[in-house]
C-alpha cells in the first residue's frame, strides 16, 4: 500500500492506495497516528483503496478513537460501495462520515 500525506489549508489529506490489510496496516497506523495532535483536521482519500481487511478496519478504528480522544476531526471520501457495505455488515461503519469527494469531506470539517 502506498500512503501519501499532504497538507492543504490546514487539513491533512491522507491518500491510501492499494490494499489496507495486515501487511500494510501497521505502517498506516504509525504514519497517521504521528500526525494526530489536538484539534487536527484530517481527510482520508480512499478512491484508490481497493480493499480493507479486518486488520485494516481495526487500524481505522484505532485512528478514529485517537481522533476522538484528541478532539481532532476526520472524515473519509471516495470509499467504494462494496467497502462501505462490508464496513456496515461488520459494524465498522460508525467511525467516520464518508463523502463522495475530498472537497466535500474537507468542507464537512470546517
Amino acid at each position: 500500500m502506498d500512503i501519501k500525506i499532504k497538507e492543504q489549508a490546514g487539513v491533512f489529506i491522507v491518500t491510501l492506495i492499494g490494499n489496507l490489510d495486515s501487511v500494510s496496516s501497521a505502517d498506516v497506523q504509525e504514519v497517521v497516528l504521528e500526525k494526530i495532535t489536538v484539534g487536527v483536521k484530517m481527510v482520508f482519500d480512499m478512491r484508490l483503496c481497493e480493499f480493507i481487511s479486518s486488520a485494516g478496519l481495526r487500524v481505522l478504528l484505532i485512528i478514529a478513537k485517537r481522533i476522538k480522544i484528541d478532539n481532532a476531526f476526520a472524515a473519509m471520501s471516495g470509499l467504494s460501495d462494496e467497502i462501505l457495505e462490508v464496513m456496515a455488515m461488520t459494524g465498522f461503519d460508525e467511525m467516520f462520515d464518508n463523502y463522495q469527494t475530498v472537497d466535500e469531506a474537507i468542507n464537512s470539517l470546517v
Binding site: D21, V23, S54, M89, T90
Partner: protein
Amino acid sequence: MLRIDMNPTHTFGEFKLRHGTPLPFGATIVPGGINFSVFSRHASSCELALFRKHEEKPFVIIPFISEENDYHFVIGNVFTIIVFDLPYEEIEYAYRMDGSNDKARGFCFDKTKYLLDPYAKLIGGRDIWKQQPDWSNEYQHRSRVVFDDFDWKNDKPLEIPFEDLVIYEMHVRSFTAHESSKVKGGSRGTFAAIREKIPYLKELGINCVELLPIHEFDEFENSKLNPTNPNELLVNYWGYSTVGFFAPKAGYAATGKFGMQVDEFKKLISDLHANKIEVILDVVFNHTAEGNEKGSYISFRGIDNSTYYLLTPEGYYYNFSGTGNTMNCNNPIVRNMILDCLRYWVSEYHIDGFRFDLAAILSRDEKGAPMANPPLLESLAYDPILGKCKLIAEAWDAGGLYQVGSFPSWGRWAEWNGKFRDDIRKFITGGSGMVGAIAQRIQGSPDLYHWRSPTASVNFVTCHDGFTLMDLFSYNDKKNEANGENNNDGDNNNHSWNCGWEGESSDESVNFLRKKQVKNVFTLLLLCRGVPMILSGDEMGHTQFGNNNAYCQDNEISWLNWNDLEKNSELFQYTKKMIGFRHDHPVLRHNKFFHNRDYMNTGYPDISWHGTQAWNADWGDGSRTLAFLLDGKHAKEGTIEDNYIYVAINMHWDSHVFQIPQLPEGLKWYVAANTDMPEGSDIFASGEEPIIEQQFNFMVGSRSMIILVGK
C-alpha cells in the same frame, strides 16, 4: 511495556522462531509474531505447515523439534512455537503429526495429512456458501488466525430471567434466504441479513434467538443429487456436524469471502443485545464431521484419535450419535476443550446460552456407559465464566439414552421437554386420556422437575426436527421423498392430524380448522409455566410440504416464504398478541411451581382446576375438556399483583358450555382470546379485551380455547 522475551532465539531457514507458550491453545497473535500451540498425547512429532491463503502447497513446514537448528519446542504433550513476522491475515496453517498407526490401539497417525487446528478461531475453505471447493486440494478446512478484539461499546449481558424468555429457534439461512425476505441481494441467508430483520423479531415480541449450529461445518458433507430434482444438490444444511468448534460458519457471513465472519457475527449479537434479544447457540459436541473408519482426516483423528473419540476395545468408533463417531466428552482433555470453547463464545462473542445437541452423550464415560455425575456436565454447571449462561440439554441420544426429567443438572441445566411436545400434540389432535398430563404441562411439568424448577422445562411443540406447526395439522404422514432415502428417514411418530385432508387444501373449513389448531398450540404454549420455544416460521404458517426432516433441503422447503406473512397475517397477529399476553401477565411466568392451594388467603388457590362445571374438572380417560383459573394475587408468590386468568380448553369435536368460576365482588370477566373466532375477534391486546355479557357461562367451540381476564 516491552517484554524481554519478545525477540527470536532460533531460526528455521529464513523464519525466525522462539519457544512458544502452551496456553492458550490455538494460534494467538503476540508481539512480533504468532504463538502456535497444539496438544497431542500420542504423536511422536509434529510440524507446522504455513500456507499463503488458498494455496495448495505450504510455503514452509517448520518442525517443532529440530536437532539441526538446536531447538525443542515441546512442553509436556504440547507442541508450541512462536513464528515471527507473519502477515496474519494472509496465511493459513495446518499441523502434521507422526506416530503409531496401530488401529487396534486406536492410533491412526498419518504424517502426510494436513490437519486443522482443533482451536482454530477462523476457518477457510468454505468461504462462500455452497461454492464448490477445489476437491484436489489436500487441505480442505484451513486454520486461519484471527485477532480477538471487537469494539463491543456498551454491550451488557442481558441476563433475562429464564422464566421471562420466549425463545425463537432459527436457522441462519432459512430465515432470510428466500427472495421474499427482501433483504439486500448479496446478504440473503447471512448473519448480516438477520440484523435487517431485527425490527420484525421485536414486533413479534420474542426475546431470545436460538441459532441452529453456526460452528464451521461442511455443507458438502454427504451431499448428493436430489432424486426428485436432479439439478439440485442435497447438502448438510442444518450443520449438525462440526468441523471446528471455535470458528463461526464462514458461509453464513456475507463477508465470509473476505474472512470477516467473526466481526459480522459479533455485530449481529451486539445489535440483538441492543434490542434486548439474547442469543443461544445450538452446539454439537457429541460428534464431529470426521465420520467413522471410512471418514476423512480433518483434525482430531490425525491429532489424537484415541483421546478425542470413544473407541471400542478393537479400536472402532462407537456410534451413539448416529453419525459415525462419538466425542470422548468425559476425557479430561476433551472436557477442557469443550469448556475452553464455551468460555470463548461467552467471553469473546457475548453468547447468552447454549443448547446441547444429543446432550445425553455428554454424560457417557470413556466406555460409553452413562455416569451418575458426569464431570463435564458438572464442570459446565459450576464454571465461573458460564455462571449466568443458559444451559439447555437435548436430553437424549441416538444410542437409546433418554434422560428427560433425569438429566444431571446441579440446578443449572434446563432440558428440551420432549414429553411436553408429545403430550400437547396428542391432546390438541383430540387424543383421550390426556387431561391429567396436560395439567402437569400447564404447571411446568412438576411430574418431571418437581425437585428443580419450571424453568428446567423448555416447552416446545415444534422445533427444526419434525413437522412445522402448519404441517402438524396438514399431514398425517411425513413426505420425505425429496430427501432421497425413500421416505425412510425422519420420525414416524408425529402425533399429527391433517384436519380432514392430506396436504394443501382449498376447503375453507379445513383451512379454518388448521389455523385454529395453530392458534390453540400458541395459546397453550404461551400459557404454560416453563420456558416457551417457538420454531421460526410457525408464526407465519410456514410449510415444509410435509417434510419432517429437512436436514438436507437448502431450498423453499426450508426457507421462510415471507409472503406467508401476508397470507397468514392472522397467525402472525395471533402469535404476536399471545406473546404479548405472556409478557403482560407475571402470573404466567415464575421460577417456582404452583402450590395448588390458597397460601395468600385470597379466597382462591394459586391455580384451580375446572371443567364444564366450575370447580369440578373431569379427569376421566374420556375427557377432552379442562379449564383452570390463575389467581393474580398469587403472582410470583404474591409479590406482584396480576389479573385473574381463566382458560377453558375444549379439545372435543363438539362445542361445550363451560361454567365460569365467579370473581370477587366488583370484578368482571373480559375475553382476551377465543381461537374459535375469525381474525380480528380471536385475540385482543391488553386493555382492549371486550367484556362478556353473560358472566356465568361461556360456549367454547369445538377444538377451541378461550382466555378470560378477570379485572
